[in-house]
């Protein structure tokens, strides 16, 4: 009896330890996106500055880098030069799109005028686009292939290498 109870106890404790190991080893803010491999949620949002409505569908046929960001987010400042420089260098081959996350349009305009403006930045109505993409913080970047499917997601500021690696997935 005692041996059986001990064995069951060991099994339960081991299982609990496994659950804790995997649970505690995770970044609590990291979200495994269930959208990867699926068609990106469609939207048509107003562009900062021009006021033009830009529909995501218009970029179907070329890879899209969709970057959620805000001026109050310091890591977004860090990756901004990488994004603008890459957007300029790849030209029409890849479409870069910024989506404003919980920020004022005027602050975005000031920021872009000061630090470079290489692609359209869109205003998200009541954060609905961010919610549909499962954004849990900024910066967060989604990579869409030519068919409009999400092939990768990157959380945090991207280095040129991070951008290159993920862009390669979108360009396949």
């Amino acid at each position: 009896m005692n041996r059986t109870v001990l064995l069951i106890g060991i099994v339960i404790t081991a299982a609990l330890l496994v659950v804790l190991y995997f649970g505690l080893g995770k970044d609590p803010q990291h979200i495994d996106s269930p959208l990867i491999g699926r068609l990106a949620p469609s939207f048509a949002l107003k562009a900062v500055g021009s006021g033009e409505t830009i529909d995501l569908a218009r970029y179907r046929g070329k890879p899209v880098v969709l970057n959620f960001w805000a001026t109050w987010c310091r890591p977004c400042w860090e990756e901004h030069p990488t994004l603008t420089a890459t957007a300029k260098s790849v030209g029409d081959q890849v479409q870069f799109v910024g989506v404003v996350f919980q920020d004022d349009e005027s602050k975005i305009v000031d920021f872009l005028r000061e630090r470079g403006w290489a692609y359209p930045t869109l205003v998200d109505e009541k954060g609905k686009t961010a919610i549909a993409y499962g954004v849990g913080g900024v910066p967060e970047t989604f990579f869409l292939d030519r068919k409009g499917n999400i092939v990768a997601k990157f959380e945090g500021p991207m280095s040129p290498q991070d951008l290159e690696v993920n862009l390669a997935k979108a360009m396949k």
Partner: protein, 184 residues
């Protein structure tokens, strides 16, 4: 006009308002739940029912930008937006299951504060029950063992053995006698 016709017209009107709300004259169109979970399967809620149900669902959804807080309890803009969306979906007739599915589609099971009974999550539900059951078994086994324990075999021998208790100690007996004044 029949009552059924009135209800149909009301629902059509609601659908038209929703469509207008989703796509403004400038052509702005935000991602909509219908894109992911189809048309509403429930009855549109209003008033206190809407507020109560919004609160219930908001208490079960995790705020993605907070540390383990439900969107019902978080003051963050993200949580406020998500709660607003829950309210809007309920008002359009989406069911609780559809709303959970909608958020789960974007955020995965991360967004559900109560994990689903599937996959590795099954352990979260099963292990505490197993641990409790094991504890109960151990306690009952111990109680049973105590009840079954035999009487001490040497009880008689113990009574016959030289007394170690203070009452039977010869020295103490002599002291007592002296105290009582018995000098014999």
């Amino acid at each position: 006009m029949s009552r059924r016709m009135a209800v149909i017209l009301m629902l059509l009107g609601l659908a038209a308002i929703t469509a207008i709300a989703q796509q403004d004259p400038q052509g702005v169109k935000v991602p909509d739940a219908e894109q992911f979970v189809g048309k509403p399967k429930g009855t549109p809620l209003t008033g206190d029912d809407l507020t109560r149900k919004t609160q219930d669902i908001a208490a079960s959804l995790r705020c993605p930008v907070c540390q383990g807080l439900a969107i019902a309890d978080s003051p963050s803009e993200m949580a406020t937006n998500m709660k607003g969306q829950v309210r809007e979906l309920l008002a359009r007739g989406y069911t609780q299951e559809q709303i959970f599915s909608y958020f789960e589609r974007s955020y995965g099971q991360f967004v559900l504060l109560k994990p689903k009974f599937q996959g590795v999550n099954t352990l979260v539900w099963v292990l505490p029950v197993l641990a409790l059951a094991l504890g109960v078994i151990i306690v009952f086994a111990k109680i049973r063992n105590l009840e079954k324990a035999p009487e001490p075999k040497n009880a008689a021998a113990e009574s016959a053995a030289p007394a170690e208790t203070p009452e039977e100690d010869p020295y103490l007996a002599r002291v007592r006698k002296l105290v009582k004044g018995d000098n014999s």
